[in-house]
């Protein structure tokens, strides 16, 4: 049984069908990339999985349970984490506090009546905070205000926040968007490392074809909300439909 499955997932915005009957199955430990031209419905797909958006039809099953009735924070608690397209961090807090919040979210649960209990009493949190910041190489900068970090570091911190939630499945929305080539390389190897260390299942939305073909076990191609192809990087490269629809007929 797959870790995550979407069954006939359909989302309509007025007359526009953003995702159209999408069936996906993502196995544990897999690295799957979702690609497609602008407006293909990639982000809408992710937003439905994280429960930011309600699907119009269809079902989402995670760990054999439907998550259609859950709130976004419950989805995180069940083990789906997301890194955002922009550096979504807590700007006025320190780097360390940023990671601490995420680690606390994982350790502590979504809500508890414990407002007189000191947070230093949650021992696992400081451990997890440190581990996370070391994993994304930001431990040295831990006392800096997050807003003072360079852009690439902010994106790494953002990935760190997503990781500190201790997810089983990590959804990454264009993790290298807006990065310089050096930052992109560093981020890709970071994701690579983290994925292997933690045995994460990864779903990547990415525009950079080089990254996608290097990185993925499997690629799903969306166009106008529909899955038009699915397969290993080799299969996708040779697929005439993909070349036609997505790559505009250009040979790769």
């Amino acid at each position: 049984m797959a870790l995550l499955e979407t069954q006939g997932l359909t989302k309509r915005f007025g007359g526009l069908t953003a995702t159209d009957d999408v069936d996906l199955a993502i196995e544990e430990g897999e690295r799957v990339s979702v690609i497609g031209p602008n407006g293909a419905g990639k982000t809408t797909l992710i937003n439905q999985i994280t429960r930011l958006l309600d699907p119009s039809e269809g079902d989402i099953v995670f760990k054999n349970e439907s998550i259609l009735q859950t709130e976004p924070h419950e989805v995180v608690q069940r083990g789906i984490s997301k890194s955002f397209q922009t550096a979504s961090i807590f700007p006025e807090l320190t780097v360390e506090e940023n990671a601490e919040i995420a680690a606390l979210g994982a350790e502590h649960g979504s809500f508890r009546l414990n407002f007189f209990r000191h947070r230093n009493r949650y021992g696992g949190v400081s451990e997890a905070t440190r581990r996370t910041l070391e994993a994304v190489s930001l431990w040295e900068q831990r006392d800096m205000e997050a807003s003072a970090l360079p852009y690439g570091d902010k994106r790494r911190l953002e990935i760190g926040i997503a990781l500190a939630s201790e997810p089983d499945l990590l959804l990454m929305d264009e993790p290298t968007a807006g990065m310089s080539p050096e930052e992109t390389n560093a981020t890709v190897s970071l994701i690579d490392e983290v994925q292997e260390d933690l045995g994460l299942t990864l779903v990547l939305i990415e525009h950079d074809m080089e990254i996608v073909f290097d990185f993925s076990d499997r690629i799903v191609v969306l166009n106008r909300g529909r899955v038009i192809a699915e397969g290993t990087p080799g299969e996708i490269q040779d697929d005439p439909d993909v070349q036609e629809a997505y790559l505009g007929g250009v040979e790769l």
């Binding site: 994280t50 709130e71 976004p72 924070h73 995180v76 608690q77 984490s81 997301k82 955002f84 979504s88 961090i89 807590f90 700007p91 006025e92 807090l93 320190t94 360390e96 506090e97 601490e100 919040i101 995420a102 606390l104 979210g105 994982a106 502590h108 649960g109 979504s110 809500f111 508890r112 414990n114 407002f115 007189f116 209990r117 000191h118 947070r119 230093n120 009493r121 949650y122 021992g123 949190v125 400081s126 451990e127 905070t129 440190r130 431990w139 040295e140 831990r142 006392d143 926040i161 500190a164 939630s165």
Partner: protein, 398 residues
């Protein structure tokens, strides 16, 4: 070694303690807390947790201690000390009133400063606390402690309802909703419920008994305590202020404190690290409502009368101004904001330092407010912090 407390000053302190603890292991710890070579044993993890807990407790005791000292010296300096009290023109009852409003403001700051939610309807909670205590004093009991409890419980109940309704929306809509609900309660109190509230006349017939059946709140404390604190009433209110500061300090250092900040900084991200943002916002609202109700009940005990204006929107505005004036997001700042606001309202409006200034006291208040907001965006507390840093730098240079 792991330490991650919010305060950098604390970190160095902790680091030293932990270094000592770690010396037993062959763990090598750099001064900046960098690489740890070799695994830290679980014993040292426990030791470091212990050290951090102890240093956190020390800071807590410092804050509480300073608050007690401040509360004890304040009425003497304000109302009786030579020179200072002449300069300030203070008097005992105003000192008590400042503490009452101070409790209101530091509680309000949980919502405004920490969680980043501007409520414009806290008059409803303060006023309800005040009316509940006043009504109970005429109908149920005159014991001050019970009156406080009744005021607080009523305000908590109301803040759950108001919060639940108003937190459907964020930002300015939240402010408008709280304002609307609070004004609804004001109009309810002014006419339909006048048989309980006394309508425009306010609630009269408030009777406050003696504390624990022994100490009359209006009488002076014995010996030195009398010189410093003045009346039992001030001591009673002061004790609740110390209690409030302690409670809020605890709240801010619990998981709630950091979750509130996370919500203020980036609500969506807070949701996406797995926190139930809506419930935490409601918790912030109810916690601040608790202190509003406490302050309201103390207001009744202090004045033995509840004016209808305690429910009016202007009261909501006043607490916002006090909080911003004192310093949003600082634990003790709003106390100073409340003090200055009331000083202008009661002393300057009485024609001090110049007779002609009396009718212009609101203008004075406005000028003070604008000056502070423009020059010291972090409020008076921020100014205090700046001065402290500057003095510290000077001392280091020597």
């Amino acid at each position: 070694m792991s330490d991650e407390s919010a305060n950098p000053a604390d970190r160095t302190e902790t680091a030293t303690t932990v270094d000592t603890a770690d010396a037993a292991d062959t763990t090598e710890t750099e001064a900046d807390g960098g690489e740890t070579l070799g695994g830290a044993s679980s014993a040292s993890t426990v030791a470091s947790l212990q050290a951090r807990w102890e240093s956190a407790r020390d800071r807590e005791l410092t804050v509480i201690g300073l608050t007690i000292v401040g509360v004890s010296l304040f009425p003497y300096l304000f109302a009786r000390a030579p020179v200072v009290s002449d300069l300030l023109q203070g008097y005992q009852e105003l000192a008590s009133l400042m503490l009452v409003w101070g409790i209101f403001a530091i509680g309000f700051d949980i919502l405004l400063g920490r969680t980043g939610l501007l409520s414009f309807g806290h008059a409803a909670l303060w006023g309800t606390g005040a009316y509940a205590a006043g009504w109970a004093s005429a109908n149920i009991t005159t014991f001050p402690l019970l009156l406080v409890a009744i005021g607080v419980v009523t305000a908590v109940f109301l803040s759950v309802v108001l919060g639940w309704l108003s937190l459907r929306r964020g930002g300015i809509y939240f402010a408008i909703l709280t304002l609307a609900f609070a004004q609804m309660i004001y109009y309810m109190a002014s006419a339909p419920l006048a048989f309980i509230t006394g309508g425009d006349n306010g609630l009269t017939g408030v009777e406050i008994g003696s504390l624990l059946g022994v100490f009359d709140l209006g009488t002076e404390l014995p010996s030195v305590a009398g010189t410093l604190l003045g009346t039992w009433r001030y001591a009673f209110i002061g004790a609740f202020l110390v209690l409030s500061v302690t409670a809020i300090y605890r709240i801010l250092n619990s998981p709630y404190g950091i979750v509130f900040q996370a919500i203020r900084e980036n609500e969506q991200r807070a949701e996406f690290v797995g926190f139930n943002v809506w419930r935490y916002k409601l918790a912030a609202f109810v916690l601040s409502g608790t202190f509003a109700g406490l302050a309201g009940a103390l207001f009744t005990i202090h004045g033995q009368y509840v004016p209808l204006s305690s429910l009016y929107w202007q009261t909501s505005g006043e607490v916002v101004i006090m909080t911003v004036l004192g310093g949003v997001g600082s634990l003790l700042g709003p106390l100073f904001g409340a003090g200055i606001y009331l000083w202008v309202e009661y002393i300057v409006s009485g024609g001090y330092p110049f007779d002609w200034i009396a009718p212009y006291w609101l203008l004075v208040l406005g000028l003070v407010f604008v000056t502070v907001v423009v020059l010291f965006p972090e409020g008076i507390w921020g100014l205090v912090g700046d001065l402290r840093d500057r003095v510290a730098t000077r001392l280091e240079e020597r």
